[in-house]
Each structure stands twice: as structure tokens, then as C-alpha cells.
């Protein structure tokens, strides 16, 4: 069985699942079980397909499509394999989690939710596998539409308005992507990506195609300043759908940027493309995390962190482009590999964090962190998983986020050592931005974990919360273990990522690991070993434990006091530190950057207002065609009909006369 057959199994099972959850929609619990059960099978098949495709070579399948101009071609190359693995892993976990979580939505059409989830996942898989521009766009639209329906699932004002914004930006993006593909199709004479790859465009056309594709896919990825939909749409969707949207769907945007910039336009890169990508990446990462810090809505906070991580991934991709443009394959592989590794890692830990947030919301029924607090005692497993996710996203060694950021730094460093002045100037600045991002991310996740899980319970619901249901804990546990393994097994994972990068770029592989150590290329002077760090960490932490234990017999047992010291006053819940006051110093020090957001938001508000005015105008003028054109005709038809009624008297003899008359008339016509 090849990767393609597993791929088809997964797609077909998803379609079956979609139909099944619609068919049994009248019984909520059956619908949940049908959707999730079938979904688990589909994702498992998808995971096999993705993992098989990772090692390459590309499996291509030509199928007969209904349209002669657009061949239905699927291509499972290592890059598509990585994307399919990520999609399948996350959807597998989302389905397991959904078994219990979807009960929250009982009575509100969970059958529909299952349907859209299945369509959403299947269309994402098809997007990454499609090797024809026309079909790519079809599936891309399907993906956007299905996720739109998940965003507006709650049907409240916020969800509908967020959904509208999402719809608007997604389609603005699609139009740009379409334009980019049409330009390429125009030059290639076909919609096949295979033809795109072989066509070489003039530098100007190539640049236009790249910029259109970059902005179009960038809107999907949620990079700043096209991110505005993301912090509103992702929180509105149900949590397991947010995990998929934030963990996977925005990666389709990155995939598109890689596809257009490094695959379809492969070898035609200009240096400034990479620098532009780097600049967008740096800005997105810093601003994303700064805005996240100011949030006290847990899901919005996580959504802003997606903006940040998209920025970090773009840093890697940008270095990859610079490497190709400057004819430095090692640098290109290193950069792209760092980006892809972070893409995988972000999918895992962001999925985990969204699921953790979902569990907390499931129990406390609020997204406001200020109304949580103290949940580590009542929800210990959720707290532990969330802590692992928080450590991973803050790039704390030896977890997975650190490994990919280390490679990103190494790629930036390698870029800074050689190349033109522009590159030597841009890459260290990007590295400093990454450092700033890292420090801010630590602060943000200390805040998130601290305010949600530590301290006193800040509301009645938080006080009486209980651990999430088993299937939700299981879903989180899978991803938490993945976070640890992707970090500790980096010496195994990094070469795989390197092979995907070199296969995508069509350049020789780069040595990224030797035994248990990681290195940025052969002959590198610096190495890293996450397994060794983990071993040392555990071994050396034994010493303080032993010291602590030696004197245990000399002292009284550990005791809990009444409450924390509150400068002599009686402690009160209102004294507890809030999310807002925690981030207050940063809001003060970085005030100008928050002002930027206001400006960007107001620009978008202007656009939305303009659009609304346009809709109003259209609505006002819509009847014009009716009153001026359709209605007169309809009226005159009515009048004519009434006039003609006289010939329909009801006397059958007259009707016979008509038949005879018609026969005579026809005979005359035939004769002449």
C-alpha cells in the first residue's frame, strides 16, 4: 500500500464521516460518536499516508477530472507528507478530545459541527496534496468555507461579526492567490503545478507572482498586518476547531508561501524576497507576543501567540529563500528546515494549549482568565499538560520549541556570516527580535499559567471545577508527550526535517545530527544535545533534592499556613494579581507598539465600514434592476396572459378547431 492509497482511504472515510454525522444529526450523542469515531479512523489513515510520504520520492497520481483544462493531479512529496502528518496528528487528537468536548454543544447541532469538521480536515489534506492550481483553489475555498461555519457556530454577535471579518480577509487572500496562479498559468499554458515548475518567468513577473502569493497566503497565515481576523476568529470557534485552525490551518498559509516562493518559482528567487519574508517574520513575532501579553481572554492570548509563531516560522523560511537566492544550499536547507521544524512544533504545542484552554473553559464556562485561578488543584492533569505546552512555546530547553528556535538562530547566524551587506545587516536584527520575542513569550506564559492555574480561585465556577473528562485529558496527553519527544528525539527528527527541506529545494542534504547531538551543517563549530541536557537536568537536580532530604529528620513536616502574607491585612480574592496588572510594566514600556495596533485596527475598521457602506449601497440599488427591467416585463407578461385568456373558453369544439387550424398552418409552412 502506498501513501496515496492511505491518503484516499483517509479522504473517503472523512467524507463518509461528514455524511454520517449529518444523517444521525437528530440524536446528538450518536452524532458525536459517529463523527469522532469515523474521524479517528480517517486521521489514523492520514497519519500513515503522511509518514509514508515523508521519505519521498513524490508519489503522483493523475485522475480524470470533470474539466479538460484542469487535470486532477495529486502529488505526495515529502513536504506534503509533513503537512498531512501534521494535519492528521492534530485532527486525530481533536477527534479524541471532541468525544467529550462536543457534548458542550449538545442541542445546538453537533451533527453540523461534525460535518464541517470532516469537510474542513479533508479539504486541508487535499489542498496540500493538489498539484493543479485550479483544484488547489477549489480545496482552498472549501477549507475557508468549512472553517467559516465553525467560526460562526456559536451564532452570537461576536462570532458572526468575527466570522464576517474572517470571510472577508480569507477571500481577499484567495483573490491574490488566484491572481498569482493565473499569472503563472498564463506563462506556463497550463494549470498544472508541474508546468509551473518548468516555466521560468521574467524577474518582474516572478516578483509580482511572489508578492501576490506572499500576501495572499500571508493573510491565511495571519502575519502582521494581515492578522486582524485571527485573534477574533480563532477564539470564536469551538476549542478543538480552534486547535485545528491555529495549529494547522494557518500553516497552510506558510505551506503556500513555501510552495510559491521555493517550489513553483524554485530557482528564480531574488534576494529581496527572502529579506521581505524575514522582515514580516520579525515584525509578526514581536508584535504578536506583545499584543498577546495584553490579553486576558485565554483564547485570544493563544491566537496572538499564533501570530508570533507564524513570524518565527517565517524567519526560517526567509533564510531559506535567501540561501537559494545567494546560491548557498546549506543555508537554504538550514533555514527552511528550521521553519518546517517550528511549523511542526507549533502545531503540536499550540494544539495542546488550545485544548487545555478548551478544558478549562469546559469547566468554568468563561474565556476570561480573571475569572479562573487555582485550577491546578482541581484539574491537575490539565494543568500539567498546559505547563508542558507553555514551556514548549516559551522555547525552554530541552523541549521541542527550543530545538526549532535554536535552528532558527543558527540559520540566522549562518546568514549573518556570509552574503551581501543587506543579509548581514538583516539577519542579526531578526535574531535580536527573536530574543525579545522569547523573553516576552516567557512572561506571557508565566502569566497565563499563573493566572489560570495558580493562586486563589477567582470565581465560584473556578472553585468547584473538576478535572476534564478522560477523552479530553487523553487528547492533551498525546500532544504533551509529543512536545517532550519532539524535543528529546530531536537528533532523529532534525535529519528528517532536513531531508524534507532539501527535497523541496532540490539540493543535497545537509548533516544536521550526529549520534545524539544536533549541529547546523557539517563541520559546524557548535552543537546541541537535548537528550544530554535532559539527563544532566535530572541528574543534577538530584543534588538539591538530596540536600533537602538529609535534614528532613531534623525538622518538622511541611505544613500549610492559612494564607499568603498580605502586608498584615486579611487576604482577599480581590488582592490576587490579575492578568492585566501582571502585564502592566510591559504595557507601559511598549506603549508605542500598542498604539500601532490601534492604527492598524482603525485602518481595518475603515475597510470594513467601507465594505458595509458598499453593501448598503448595493442593497439600496439592488431593486433597480427589478423595478426598471424585470418588473415591467413580468407585468406585461401578466397583462398579455390575461388578454390571451379569451381564447381558452373551455369549449372543446373550439379547441378542436385550434388543432385543425394549427395543422393547416403547419402544412402550408411545410409545403412552401
Amino acid at each position: 500500500m502506498t501513501s496515496l492509497s492511505f491518503f484516499w482511504i483517509s479522504i473517503l472515510v472523512s467524507v463518509v464521516g461528514a455524511l454520517a454525522s449529518l444523517l444521525v444529526r437528530n440524536s446528538d450523542s450518536t452524532a458525536i460518536r459517529a463523527a469522532s469515531g469515523v474521524g479517528i479512523v480517517a486521521s489514523a489513515a492520514g497519519l500513515v499516508a503522511g509518514l509514508t510520504a515523508l521519505s519521498g520520492p513524490a508519489a503522483i497520481s493523475h485522475l480524470v477530472g470533470p474539466y479538460p483544462f484542469a487535470h486532477f493531479v495529486l502529488r505526495l512529496d515529502p513536504l506534503a507528507g509533513l503537512m498531512i502528518s501534521v494535519i492528521s496528528l492534530l485532527s486525530l487528537v481533536a477527534w479524541i478530545y471532541g468525544l467529550a468536548y462536543m457534548r458542550e454543544y449538545e442541542g445546538r447541532g453537533v451533527g453540523g459541527m461534525g460535518f464541517f469538521m470532516h469537510i474542513f480536515i479533508a479539504s486541508m489534506m487535499l489542498v496540500v496534496a493538489a498539484d493543479n492550481a485550479f483544484w488547489f483553489l477549489i480545496f482552498f475555498e472549501m477549507m475557508s468555507l468549512a472553517s467559516y461555519f465553525l467560526v460562526i457556530f456559536d451564532q452570537n454577535d461576536e462570532a458572526v461579526s468575527a466570522g464576517f471579518l474572517y470571510f472577508f480577509v480569507a477571500h481577499a487572500g484567495s483573490v491574490l492567490i488566484m491572481a498569482a496562479f493565473f499569472l503563472m498559468a498564463n506563462a506556463a499554458g497550463s494549470f498544472d503545478f508541474a508546468a509551473f515548475r518548468e516555466t521560468s518567468l521574467s524577474p518582474t513577473t516572478a516578483s509580482i507572482v511572489f508578492v501576490l502569493g506572499f500576501l495572499g497566503f500571508g493573510a491565511k497565515a495571519g502575519m502582521i498586518p494581515l492578522h486582524i481576523w485571527l485573534p477574533r476568529a480563532h477564539p470564536a470557534a469551538p476549542s478543538h476547531a480552534s486547535a485545528l485552525m491555529s495549529g494547522v490551518m494557518i500553516k497552510i498559509g506558510i505551506f503556500g508561501i513555501i510552495k510559491v516562493g521555493l517550489d513553483l518559482l524554485g530557482g528564480q528567487e531574488l534576494l529581496w524576497w527572502g529579506v521581505v519574508v524575514l522582515a514580516f517574520g520579525a515584525v509578526s513575532s514581536v508584535l504578536g507576543v506583545i499584543y498577546a501579553l495584553a490579553e486576558h481572554d485565554i483564547k485570544k492570548l493563544l491566537a496572538y501567540h499564533s501570530v508570533e509563531n507564524i513570524g518565527i516560522i517565517l524567519l526560517g523560511v526567509g533564510v531559506g529563500m535567501i540561501g537559494i537566492a545567494t546560491d548557498n544550499p546549506t543555508l537554504a536547507v538550514l533555514g527552511l528546515m528550521a521553519g518546517l521544524y517550528h511549523l511542526l512544533n507549533h502545531a503540536v504545542f499550540k494544539g495542546l494549549l488550545f485544548l487545555g484552554a478548551g478544558s478549562v473553559i469546559y469547566r468554568t464556562h468563561t474565556k476570561d482568565m480573571e475569572a479562573m485561578g487555582g485550577l491546578a488543584k482541581t484539574m491537575p492533569w490539565t494543568a500539567l499538560s498546559f505547563l508542558i505546552g507553555a514551556l514548549a512555546i516559551s522555547a525552554i530547553p530541552p523541549l521541542n520549541g527550543f530545538v526549532s528556535e535554536w535552528y532558527t538562530y543558527q540559520a540566522l547566524f549562518a546568514g549573518a556570516l556570509e552574503g551581501s551587506f543587506l543579509v548581514r545587516f538583516a539577519t542579526p536584527i531578526a535574531a535580536v527580535m527573536l530574543a525579545l520575542t522569547g523573553a516576552l513569550a516567557v512572561m506571557c506564559f508565566v502569566k497565563a499559567y499563573g493566572v489560570i492555574f495558580s493562586g486563589p480561585a477567582r470565581s465560584e465556577k473556578a472553585r468547584h471545577a473538576t478535572e476534564a473528562p478522560h477523552s479530553m485529558v487523553a487528547g492533551m496527553a498525546v500532544l504533551a508527550i509529543a512536545c517532550v519527544l519532539l524535543g528529546l528525539l530531536a537528533p532523529v527528527v532534525a535529519p528528517i526535517m532536513g531531508n524534507i527541506a532539501s527535497a523541496t529545494l532540490g539540493v543535497p542534504a545537509v548533516m544536521l545530527a550526529d549520534g545524539g547531538t544536533l549541529m547546523p551543517g557539517e563541520g559546524a563549530t557548535t552543537v546541541l544535545s537535548t537528550p544530554l541536557i535532559a539527563v544532566l537536568l535530572i541528574a543534577l537536580a538530584m543534588l538539591p533534592l538530596v540536600i533537602h532530604g538529609i535534614y528532613a529528620r531534623m525538622r518538622a513536616d511541611r505544613r500549610r499556613t492559612e494564607a499568603a502574607w498580605a502586608t498584615g491585612y486579611l487576604p482577599d480574592v480581590h488582592m490576587a494579581l490579575t492578568a492585566k496588572s501582571f502585564a502592566q510594566p510591559i504595557r507601559m514600556f511598549f506603549a508605542p507598539l500598542y498604539a500601532v495596533r490601534k492604527t492598524v485596527a482603525s485602518v481595518w475598521a475603515c475597510l470594513t465600514r467601507g465594505y458595509e457602506r458598499f453593501v448598503c449601497f448595493a442593497r439600496r440599488n439592488e431593486p433597480w434592476a427589478d423595478t426598471g427591467f424585470v418588473n415591467p416585463i413580468a407585468n406585461s407578461v401578466g397583462v398579455a396572459g390575461r388578454r390571451l385568456q379569451v381564447i381558452q373558453s373551455g369549449d372543446f369544439r373550439i379547441y378542436c378547431l385550434y388543432i385543425v387550424g394549427a395543422l393547416v398552418a403547419l402544412l402550408i409552412v411545410a409545403a412552401s
Partner: protein, 312 residues
Amino acid sequence: MPTLSHFLLAVVQALALFAVAPLISGLSRFERAKMHTRRGPSIFQDYRDIYKLLRRQDLAPSEAGRVFQFMPVIMLGALMVIATGLPMLTRFTPIPAVGDLITIVYLFALVRFFFSLSGLDSGSSFAGIGASRELTMGVLVEPIMLLALFVAALVAGSTNLGQIGIAISSGTVHSAAATLLAAGAFAFALYIELGKLPYDMAEAEQELQEGPLTEYSGPSLALVKWGLALKQTLVVGWFIGVFLPFGSATEMSFFGLIGGLIAFVVKLFVIFGVIAVIENSVARARFRLAPQHSWLGVGAASLAFVFYLVGL
């Protein structure tokens, strides 16, 4: 790959630093007392404090969680991992797989993460504000640190701390001005990281920035105090290893290591002397002024970068 002797050296180095850390913090206290012309405690006072605290009962607020309980152990463990990676007695990093500048910066972030989270986890709002401030200082310091080290790494052609030290000591760096400025910026960033006046007072527990410790007591407090002393020693050792590697052993030999040890102790002593002078001649700066001061560091590091670019 590190050989067994490198590995042993790393572990011995970490354990030795762990053992002498309270002595070094005791020395700081002793020096300050002398500058204030008071007799002050003995330089072994910190050992006595730790010993005393280890035998006291461990109290925790009712709302404190697991992070609060385990932070002292995690903090000390992570700091000792850092100690295995820094080039101190030798010019090369004992374990190269830990001695990358990015790894070290992020291992310090691991310490910071748990250190401040323990403040929030204690349930005390006072400790929470301390955590917030500690992290804010991290945000201000880390970019300076990274840019300065990045410039030094570019000059040396490697991000391995030992390689940077080797390049600087052998004089193969091709832009001296950039290296000097980077050293200055790095020293400034590390000084803030030390938690000394004018940015902090590590000894004063009611001081906000060390506020995460408010609720610690008994053996936990002993371990955290030990950890803070170790952190200060490591931060200074980091500077010595990268920018002042002169005198350290260039290869693994007994006399080389002895020479390296003597050189390291002398440098540590001198630097702590300088720190004591600075610390005792300034007043506490308002917290809100910290970002304005940190611009100085950013400026110096950026200037170093510009110098590197033009090759000065």
C-alpha cells in the same frame, strides 16, 4: 563529542561552583560591610544561614501549588546544567552540547520561568508583582545580551562560547572595537541580571524584584538562596569565559587546569570587587527608569553591531 575527562571536568566544575557559591555571596556581604565601615558578618555567614534554614520547618501558603514546591530544585538543577557548559577553568566548553550561547540564554530563561512562576503559584499578590518585575527585567536584558553575544559570535565565527573565548584570547577577531563594545554591553546586561543596586537588592527580601521569594521558608528558602548565589557566580563566570578568557587552560592537563583555576579565582575576585564598588556608590533606581537605562545597553550593543558591519 566530549570525552569522559571533559565530562568529568564539567561535573566537577558544576559541583565546585555549587559548593563555593555561598562563599562568594558571603564575600559580597563582607565587602559591602567593609565599605560601610562596619564589621559585618563573616564570609561564611551564608553557609550558616543555609544550614540554619535547612533545619527549619517548611511552610507553604494554603494556595501554593506544585510549582511553588519544586521550583528550588528545578532552579538549582538548571543552574548546575549551565555550570557544566560555561568555559571557566578551560578555554573550551567542557560539554560543547550545552555551551552554545543560545542554549545558555534559554537555560537562564528556564530558571526565570520557574522562578517567577513560583511567585504567582504561591498565591501571594506581592510575590506576583515581584514575578512580573523579574520577567520585565528579563525582557529588557535578554535582547541586549543576545545582540552583544551575537556580535561577538560573528566576530569569532561560531556561537559556541568556548570558540568565542578562543578567538578573543588569540586576537584573531577582525574588529576589535566591536568586540570591546559588545563586551561592555554584555557586562551591562549581566550587571542587571545580577540583581544588584541600582536595579535590585537581592538581599532585601521585601524588595519587589526578588519578590517571588516572599512566601518561601525553611529548606526551600535555603535552596533558593543558594540558587541565587550560584546564579550570581555563574553570571560573572559567563562574562569571564567569553570576554576575559586569559589565563585559562587551553587543553586538558593537570597544571593547565590548576593555572586556569587560579586565574579564574583572581578574575572572579576582581570582578566582584568592582561590582561591590558600583553597588555601594549608587542609590536604588526607580523601576520605571529601568527601560531608559536599558536603552544604553541596546545602544552599545547596536553600536558594536554597526562597528562589526563596517569592520572596525
